[in-house]
Amino acid sequence: MSEKTNVSVRKLLRVLVAGGVALAGSSAARAQDQQGATQTEKTDKAKQQQQQPQDDAQKAKAEKDQKDKDAQKKKADEQKKAADSEGGGVKGW
Protein backbone atom coordinates (compact mmCIF):
# COMPACT_ATOMS: atom_id res chain seq x y z
CA MET A 1 0.00 0.00 0.00
CA SER A 2 2.90 2.30 0.81
CA GLU A 3 4.21 2.12 -2.76
CA LYS A 4 0.75 2.76 -4.20
CA THR A 5 0.29 5.69 -1.84
CA ASN A 6 3.67 7.06 -2.83
CA VAL A 7 2.74 7.09 -6.48
CA SER A 8 -0.70 8.53 -5.77
CA VAL A 9 0.67 11.43 -3.74
CA ARG A 10 3.11 12.30 -6.52
CA LYS A 11 0.25 12.30 -8.98
CA LEU A 12 -1.59 14.73 -6.74
CA LEU A 13 0.97 17.42 -7.41
CA ARG A 14 -0.04 17.42 -11.04
CA VAL A 15 -3.76 16.99 -10.40
CA LEU A 16 -4.16 19.62 -7.69
CA VAL A 17 -1.55 22.29 -8.16
CA ALA A 18 -1.32 22.22 -11.94
CA GLY A 19 -5.12 21.97 -12.17
CA GLY A 20 -5.49 24.98 -9.90
CA VAL A 21 -2.95 26.98 -11.83
CA ALA A 22 -4.77 26.11 -15.07
CA LEU A 23 -8.05 27.13 -13.45
CA ALA A 24 -6.47 30.45 -12.56
CA GLY A 25 -4.96 30.81 -16.02
CA SER A 26 -7.26 33.40 -17.48
CA SER A 27 -7.55 35.22 -14.15
CA ALA A 28 -3.80 35.36 -13.62
CA ALA A 29 -3.28 36.57 -17.16
CA ARG A 30 -5.91 39.24 -16.53
CA ALA A 31 -4.10 40.31 -13.37
CA GLN A 32 -0.82 40.50 -15.25
CA ASP A 33 -2.47 42.51 -18.00
CA GLN A 34 -3.80 44.88 -15.37
CA GLN A 35 -0.32 45.14 -13.85
CA GLY A 36 1.11 45.79 -17.30
CA ALA A 37 -1.50 48.43 -17.99
CA THR A 38 -0.78 50.09 -14.66
CA GLN A 39 2.93 50.05 -15.42
CA THR A 40 2.35 51.57 -18.87
CA GLU A 41 0.15 54.20 -17.29
CA LYS A 42 2.86 55.02 -14.74
CA THR A 43 5.46 55.29 -17.52
CA ASP A 44 3.21 57.62 -19.55
CA LYS A 45 2.60 59.78 -16.51
CA ALA A 46 6.32 59.92 -15.78
CA LYS A 47 6.98 61.08 -19.35
CA GLN A 48 4.33 63.78 -19.05
CA GLN A 49 5.82 64.96 -15.77
CA GLN A 50 9.24 65.32 -17.40
CA GLN A 51 7.72 67.73 -19.89
CA GLN A 52 6.12 69.90 -17.24
CA PRO A 53 7.89 72.87 -15.62
CA GLN A 54 10.42 72.14 -12.90
CA ASP A 55 8.08 73.42 -10.15
CA ASP A 56 5.48 70.85 -11.09
CA ALA A 57 8.14 68.12 -11.09
CA GLN A 58 9.29 69.10 -7.61
CA LYS A 59 5.72 69.19 -6.39
CA ALA A 60 5.04 65.77 -7.89
CA LYS A 61 8.25 64.41 -6.32
CA ALA A 62 7.24 65.72 -2.91
CA GLU A 63 3.81 64.14 -3.29
CA LYS A 64 5.36 60.86 -4.38
CA ASP A 65 7.79 60.91 -1.44
CA GLN A 66 4.89 61.50 0.90
CA LYS A 67 2.93 58.67 -0.69
CA ASP A 68 5.93 56.34 -0.38
CA LYS A 69 6.31 57.31 3.26
CA ASP A 70 2.61 56.69 3.88
CA ALA A 71 2.79 53.35 2.09
CA GLN A 72 5.84 52.30 4.10
CA LYS A 73 4.16 53.36 7.33
CA LYS A 74 1.01 51.47 6.37
CA LYS A 75 3.05 48.37 5.52
CA ALA A 76 4.98 48.60 8.81
CA ASP A 77 1.70 48.98 10.71
CA GLU A 78 0.25 45.98 8.92
CA GLN A 79 3.34 43.88 9.63
CA LYS A 80 3.24 44.89 13.28
CA LYS A 81 -0.42 43.98 13.51
CA ALA A 82 0.22 40.68 11.74
CA ALA A 83 2.97 39.90 14.20
CA ASP A 84 0.43 40.39 17.00
CA SER A 85 -1.28 37.23 15.84
CA GLU A 86 0.43 34.41 14.00
CA GLY A 87 -2.77 33.03 12.60
CA GLY A 88 -3.94 29.44 12.66
CA GLY A 89 -4.72 26.51 10.47
CA VAL A 90 -7.66 24.53 9.15
CA LYS A 91 -8.01 20.86 10.02
CA GLY A 92 -8.77 18.39 7.28
CA TRP A 93 -9.21 14.64 7.26
Binding site: M1, S2, K4, T5, N6, S8, V9, R10, L12, L13, V15, L16, V17, G19, G20, V21, L23, A24, G25, S26, S27, A28, A29, R30, A31, Q32, Q35, D77, E78, K80, K81, A82, D84, S85, E86, G87, G88, G89, V90, K91, G92, W93
Partner: protein
Protein backbone atom coordinates in the same frame (compact mmCIF):
# COMPACT_ATOMS: atom_id res chain seq x y z
CA UNK B 1 -8.20 -8.51 24.28
CA UNK B 2 -10.76 -10.73 22.52
CA UNK B 3 -11.60 -10.43 18.84
CA UNK B 4 -15.03 -9.06 19.79
CA UNK B 5 -13.57 -6.34 21.98
CA UNK B 6 -11.06 -5.45 19.27
CA UNK B 7 -13.85 -5.18 16.69
CA UNK B 8 -15.93 -3.00 19.04
CA UNK B 9 -12.92 -0.78 19.71
CA UNK B 10 -12.29 -0.41 15.98
CA UNK B 11 -15.90 0.56 15.36
CA UNK B 12 -15.80 3.12 18.19
CA UNK B 13 -12.58 4.63 16.82
CA UNK B 14 -14.01 4.72 13.30
CA UNK B 15 -17.24 6.31 14.54
CA UNK B 16 -15.18 8.95 16.32
CA UNK B 17 -13.21 9.63 13.12
CA UNK B 18 -16.37 10.00 11.04
CA UNK B 19 -17.89 12.32 13.69
CA UNK B 20 -14.77 14.45 13.53
CA UNK B 21 -15.01 14.51 9.74
CA UNK B 22 -18.64 15.57 10.03
CA UNK B 23 -17.53 18.60 12.07
CA UNK B 24 -14.73 19.29 9.57
CA UNK B 25 -17.23 19.24 6.69
CA UNK B 26 -19.73 21.46 8.56
CA UNK B 27 -16.95 23.97 9.27
CA UNK B 28 -15.76 23.83 5.67
CA UNK B 29 -19.25 24.57 4.37
CA UNK B 30 -19.52 27.75 6.47
CA UNK B 31 -15.97 28.76 5.60
CA UNK B 32 -16.53 28.40 1.85
CA UNK B 33 -19.77 30.43 2.02
CA UNK B 34 -17.89 33.21 3.82
CA UNK B 35 -15.01 33.04 1.36
CA UNK B 36 -17.37 33.24 -1.61
CA UNK B 37 -18.83 36.49 -0.25
CA UNK B 38 -15.37 37.89 0.49
CA UNK B 39 -14.13 36.98 -3.01
CA UNK B 40 -17.14 38.78 -4.46
CA UNK B 41 -16.41 41.84 -2.34
CA UNK B 42 -12.80 41.83 -3.55
CA UNK B 43 -14.00 41.67 -7.14
CA UNK B 44 -12.14 38.38 -7.56
CA UNK B 45 -12.68 36.26 -10.69
CA UNK B 46 -16.33 35.22 -10.63
CA UNK B 47 -15.59 31.58 -11.41
CA UNK B 48 -13.54 31.31 -8.22
CA UNK B 49 -16.33 32.76 -6.07
CA UNK B 50 -18.72 30.39 -7.86
CA UNK B 51 -16.44 27.46 -7.11
CA UNK B 52 -16.37 28.48 -3.44
CA UNK B 53 -20.19 28.45 -3.37
CA UNK B 54 -20.34 25.02 -5.02
CA UNK B 55 -17.73 23.82 -2.53
CA UNK B 56 -19.94 24.98 0.34
CA UNK B 57 -22.84 22.94 -1.07
CA UNK B 58 -20.53 19.92 -1.57
CA UNK B 59 -19.40 20.11 2.04
CA UNK B 60 -23.00 20.09 3.31
CA UNK B 61 -23.55 16.90 1.32
CA UNK B 62 -20.31 15.44 2.65
CA UNK B 63 -21.39 16.25 6.21
CA UNK B 64 -24.56 14.21 5.64
CA UNK B 65 -22.49 11.22 4.45
CA UNK B 66 -20.15 11.50 7.44
CA UNK B 67 -23.06 11.74 9.88
CA UNK B 68 -24.68 8.64 8.38
CA UNK B 69 -21.47 6.61 8.54
CA UNK B 70 -20.83 7.69 12.13
CA UNK B 71 -24.36 6.63 13.07
CA UNK B 72 -23.96 3.26 11.31
CA UNK B 73 -20.83 2.66 13.36
CA UNK B 74 -22.75 3.36 16.56
CA UNK B 75 -21.56 6.90 17.27
CA UNK B 76 -24.08 9.40 15.92
CA UNK B 77 -23.20 13.06 15.57
CA UNK B 78 -24.76 15.88 17.58
CA UNK B 79 -28.19 17.04 16.48
CA UNK B 80 -26.98 20.59 16.02
CA UNK B 81 -24.25 21.66 13.63
CA UNK B 82 -21.11 22.93 15.36
CA UNK B 83 -20.74 26.71 15.85
CA UNK B 84 -19.26 28.63 12.90
CA UNK B 85 -15.49 28.16 12.71
CA UNK B 86 -13.27 31.15 13.50
CA UNK B 87 -11.33 32.84 10.75
CA UNK B 88 -7.74 31.72 10.87
CA UNK B 89 -5.83 34.56 9.15
CA UNK B 90 -3.61 36.64 11.43
CA UNK B 91 -5.12 39.87 12.70
CA UNK B 92 -4.08 42.94 10.76
CA UNK B 93 -3.57 41.50 7.30
CA UNK B 94 -5.07 43.48 4.44
CA UNK B 95 -8.40 41.91 3.40
CA UNK B 96 -6.97 40.62 0.11
CA UNK B 97 -4.11 38.89 1.94
CA UNK B 98 -6.39 37.59 4.69
CA UNK B 99 -8.57 35.89 2.06
CA UNK B 100 -5.45 34.41 0.46
CA UNK B 101 -4.32 33.12 3.86
CA UNK B 102 -7.73 31.52 4.53
CA UNK B 103 -7.80 29.89 1.10
CA UNK B 104 -4.26 28.57 1.41
CA UNK B 105 -4.96 27.15 4.88
CA UNK B 106 -8.32 25.66 3.90
CA UNK B 107 -7.63 24.52 0.34
CA UNK B 108 -3.92 24.29 -0.44
CA UNK B 109 -3.17 22.62 2.90
CA UNK B 110 -6.29 21.03 4.45
CA UNK B 111 -8.12 20.04 1.27
CA UNK B 112 -4.94 18.85 -0.47
CA UNK B 113 -4.09 16.65 2.52
CA UNK B 114 -7.69 15.42 2.58
CA UNK B 115 -7.40 14.37 -1.06
CA UNK B 116 -4.23 12.45 -0.21
CA UNK B 117 -6.04 10.71 2.68
CA UNK B 118 -9.05 9.83 0.53
CA UNK B 119 -6.81 8.57 -2.27
CA UNK B 120 -5.05 6.29 0.20
CA UNK B 121 -8.33 5.04 1.68
CA UNK B 122 -10.00 4.18 -1.62
CA UNK B 123 -8.12 0.95 -2.47
CA UNK B 124 -8.67 -0.40 1.06
CA UNK B 125 -12.43 0.22 1.18
CA UNK B 126 -13.98 -3.07 0.13
CA UNK B 127 -17.52 -2.18 1.14
CA UNK B 128 -19.16 -0.80 -2.04
CA UNK B 129 -21.21 1.85 -0.18
CA UNK B 130 -18.16 3.15 1.68
CA UNK B 131 -16.10 3.05 -1.50
CA UNK B 132 -18.76 5.10 -3.32
CA UNK B 133 -18.78 7.75 -0.59
CA UNK B 134 -14.98 7.98 -0.52
CA UNK B 135 -14.87 8.30 -4.30
CA UNK B 136 -17.53 11.02 -4.34
CA UNK B 137 -15.72 12.96 -1.62
CA UNK B 138 -12.33 12.56 -3.30
CA UNK B 139 -13.64 13.92 -6.59
CA UNK B 140 -15.19 16.93 -4.87
CA UNK B 141 -12.19 17.64 -2.65
CA UNK B 142 -9.94 17.81 -5.71
CA UNK B 143 -12.04 20.75 -6.89
CA UNK B 144 -11.88 22.37 -3.46
CA UNK B 145 -8.10 22.07 -3.33
CA UNK B 146 -7.84 23.52 -6.83
CA UNK B 147 -9.79 26.58 -5.71
CA UNK B 148 -6.97 27.39 -3.30
CA UNK B 149 -4.23 26.74 -5.83
CA UNK B 150 -6.08 28.81 -8.43
CA UNK B 151 -6.51 31.75 -6.05
CA UNK B 152 -2.86 31.47 -5.03
CA UNK B 153 -1.83 31.65 -8.69
CA UNK B 154 -3.89 34.83 -9.08
CA UNK B 155 -2.33 36.30 -5.90
CA UNK B 156 1.12 35.35 -7.21
CA UNK B 157 0.36 37.20 -10.43
CA UNK B 158 -0.27 40.29 -8.31
CA UNK B 159 2.91 39.76 -6.29
CA UNK B 160 0.97 39.17 -3.07
CA UNK B 161 2.12 35.80 -1.76
CA UNK B 162 5.49 36.45 -0.08
CA UNK B 163 3.82 37.39 3.21
CA UNK B 164 2.74 33.76 3.63
CA UNK B 165 6.23 32.30 4.19
CA UNK B 166 6.79 33.34 7.82
CA UNK B 167 3.19 32.44 8.64
CA UNK B 168 3.44 28.81 7.46
CA UNK B 169 4.50 27.25 10.81
CA UNK B 170 1.39 28.55 12.59
CA UNK B 171 -0.80 27.59 9.64
CA UNK B 172 0.59 24.04 9.58
CA UNK B 173 0.50 23.63 13.35
CA UNK B 174 -3.17 24.54 13.30
CA UNK B 175 -3.91 22.01 10.57
CA UNK B 176 -3.07 18.90 12.60
CA UNK B 177 -4.14 17.27 15.82
CA UNK B 178 -1.66 17.76 18.63
CA UNK B 179 -0.91 14.04 18.79
CA UNK B 180 -0.15 13.51 15.09
CA UNK B 181 3.58 13.40 15.74
CA UNK B 182 3.31 11.40 18.97
CA UNK B 183 3.02 7.67 19.56
CA UNK B 184 -0.54 6.57 20.29
CA UNK B 185 -2.21 3.50 21.74
CA UNK B 186 -1.88 0.32 19.60
CA UNK B 187 -5.62 0.26 18.81
CA UNK B 188 -5.19 3.41 16.71
CA UNK B 189 -2.50 1.71 14.62
CA UNK B 190 -4.79 -1.20 13.70
CA UNK B 191 -4.62 -1.78 9.94
CA UNK B 192 -8.16 -3.16 10.05
CA UNK B 193 -9.34 0.46 10.52
CA UNK B 194 -8.71 0.96 6.80
CA UNK B 195 -11.74 -1.17 5.94
CA UNK B 196 -13.88 1.29 7.94
CA UNK B 197 -12.48 4.27 6.08
CA UNK B 198 -9.93 5.33 8.68
CA UNK B 199 -6.14 5.52 8.40
CA UNK B 200 -3.97 4.01 11.12
CA UNK B 201 -2.23 6.84 13.01
CA UNK B 202 1.29 6.29 11.64
CA UNK B 203 -0.02 6.01 8.07
CA UNK B 204 -1.95 9.26 8.53
CA UNK B 205 1.21 10.98 9.79
CA UNK B 206 3.30 9.58 6.92
CA UNK B 207 0.72 10.73 4.41
CA UNK B 208 0.54 14.23 5.91
CA UNK B 209 4.32 14.55 5.70
CA UNK B 210 4.40 13.29 2.13
CA UNK B 211 1.53 15.53 1.06
CA UNK B 212 3.41 18.55 2.42
CA UNK B 213 6.73 17.56 0.89
CA UNK B 214 5.43 16.45 -2.49
CA UNK B 215 2.36 18.58 -3.06
CA UNK B 216 1.97 21.57 -0.74
CA UNK B 217 5.52 22.89 -0.45
CA UNK B 218 6.36 22.55 -4.16
CA UNK B 219 3.05 24.22 -5.00
CA UNK B 220 3.75 27.11 -2.63
CA UNK B 221 7.33 27.42 -3.92
CA UNK B 222 5.92 27.76 -7.42
CA UNK B 223 3.72 30.62 -6.25
CA UNK B 224 6.63 32.59 -4.80
CA UNK B 225 6.14 31.60 -1.15
CA UNK B 226 9.30 30.94 0.86
CA UNK B 227 8.55 27.50 2.31
CA UNK B 228 11.69 27.25 4.43
CA UNK B 229 9.87 28.20 7.67
CA UNK B 230 7.24 25.54 6.91
CA UNK B 231 9.85 22.93 6.05
CA UNK B 232 11.75 23.72 9.28
CA UNK B 233 8.51 23.30 11.26
CA UNK B 234 7.96 19.89 9.66
CA UNK B 235 11.57 18.81 10.18
CA UNK B 236 11.33 19.65 13.89
CA UNK B 237 8.13 17.58 14.24
CA UNK B 238 9.74 14.64 12.44
CA UNK B 239 12.81 14.74 14.69
CA UNK B 240 10.51 14.66 17.70
CA UNK B 241 8.79 11.56 16.28
CA UNK B 242 11.94 9.56 15.45
Amino acid sequence: MTAEVRAATRRALAASAWRFRWSVECDASVRFERLAARLDALDAPTHLAGLARRSAADERRHATHCARLAAELGGPVLERAPPPPPEVAPVGLAEEDAVTYELVAACCVAESVSVAVLTALLPAARDPALHAVLRELAEDEIGHARLGWAHLAVAAGRGRTAFLGPLLPAMLAGSVDEDLFRPVEPEREDEALLALGVLPHAVKRELFVRALEEVVFPGLDGAGVDTEPGRAWLAARRIATS
